[in-house]
Amino acid sequence: MADIELVRDDSARSLADNSTVARLGVSSGPAVPAKAGPFQFQYRVLKALILRDLASRYAHSRMGPLLGILLPVLTFAVLIFAFKLRGKTVPSEFPLGVFIMTGYPLWQAFQSTYSKVIGAANRSDPLLMFPQITQLDIIISTIILDAAINTVVYLALVLGVVILLSTPLPRDPVGVLLAYWSCAWIGAAFGLILASAARLFPLLPNLVNPFMRFGMWVSGVVFMIDRLPTWTWPYLKWNPILHAVEGSRELWTGYESPIFDPGYIISLGFVLTTTGFVLERLTRRYVGP
């Protein structure tokens, strides 16, 4: 015998009478708008996610945006100090400010975008409960916001180095910026591949992380390729970040890099991005809120 008494009463129905509803202050919400086109819809979702992420990042303190600039500045102050102490790997004719600005920030753009993409894909995001938000939206919005913030910080650092260290202005500023963005692009594409594969093999990013730490030392952050023996070049040339770093140096000063190949960066970027999108699509069904 059931011990739950089932009563079909109409109390809720009577509550919904217009007079009752008016008394309780229950009004109907605004109706769902007419269906937007796919691009307008995507724009709307990304804009909402970016503004929410921006508010979340800087909600804790009014100092947040300022710290976002100050912390990289401090990092670079330490780097400049360290290179001044042990500047043997930098050719004497090459400005130290340019050497630093065309090295570590580019690696950082790659590494931070990669980490952010892995982070965005790893967490079982509650936002996925909204039907129109996919994990790819969360990843793309993270990439856009991160690229925008990093670019502002990079430009501020370039300006600082030019003013404080009497560093010459870039000969090709747009080219230097493109080299910087190409590192973020490679990081995002590489992150998308790994994040998608990690839906099936969750430990994969942990296996790759040690190689990422090693990666900085073979990306031209602490050396210039023409200072290394030529037999090392074929082994190092596979690294797209090294190409971007060398390219950035060439575009800033006119130094002739022996390995810089923009075609390599672009074609590898496209291959990685396409692979990432295909893998993401194939593994999407393993994602849930």
Binding site: M1, A12, V26, G29, V32, P33, A55, S56
Partner: protein, 226 residues
């Protein structure tokens, strides 16, 4: 206008063990139908709701939707506790292409949170959070509203208000209600779907089927007690 699940299958793999919650399951929810979904824990009620919403993809089969579907009401995950009630409202408004201030006004009025709307949600009591979640869920009208145990929010007065709001939705559109409260199913639903057997069972006679389900549950509990 309807939502159609066509031969949908869904299997979870946890710690190497497979659990199939749906296999070749088909269901049509026309606009205007109010469907109750009942079943023991782990039988796939929330999975069904998430698949209807589109936030979980089935392993096989298709889901056709030609009406707008809400996220499951009662689910608080989309609300960021670091942000204020107002910022959360604005996010929802942008997501659905609505005027942010219109949504803020509606949610403030419905939830009666007033000045607290400017405070981070993490400072709210659980009752206040429930009110915010429910008000956000009611801020946008959908052709089909999904409710996942979401009607027990807040104090008695707010619960009455929430029920009235759901009732309005029920009259104008479809409601899919997942609940353990069998009285709610009898009172609000036109059909009931019982999960947990070899196949999900859809019944038109809500009262009879809910009574039978209740008896089955009682019998099972008696067996466990014995």
């Amino acid at each position: 206008m309807s939502i159609e699940l066509i031969k949908v299958s869904k299997t979870y793999v946890t710690l190497g063990r497979r659990k199939t919650v749906f296999k070749d399951f088909s269901l049509t929810i026309p606009r205007g139908l109010n469907l109750g979904v009942i079943g023991a824990n782990g039988t796939g009620k929330s999975t069904l709701l998430s698949m209807i919403a589109g936030s979980i993809h089935p392993d096989g089969g298709r889901i056709k939707r030609d009406m707008s579907v809400s996220w499951p009401i009662g689910y608080s995950g989309g609300v960021s506790t670091n942000l204020t009630g107002v910022v959360n409202c604005r996010f929802l408004a942008r997501l659905y292409g609505r005027d942010p201030e219109e949504i803020v006004r509606f949610v403030t009025e419905f939830s009666e949170l007033d000045d607290y709307m400017e405070w981070p949600v993490k400072t709210y009591s659980s009752g206040m959070r429930s009110r915010l979640n429910f008000a956000l869920s009611m801020a946008i009208d959908f052709d089909c509203t999904l409710v996942d145990e979401g009607m027990g929010a807040g104090d008695q007065f707010f619960r009455t208000k929430a029920e009235a709001a759901i009732e309005r939705r029920r009259r104008r559109s479809s409601v899919v209600l997942v609940t353990h409260n069998l009285n709610e199913v009898v009172r609000l639903c036109d059909k009931v779907l019982v999960l947990g057997g070899s196949q999900p069972e859809l019944s038109d006679d809500v009262e009879e089927r809910v009574n039978r389900y209740s008896d089955e549950m009682s019998r099972r509990r008696d067996e466990l007690d014995a």
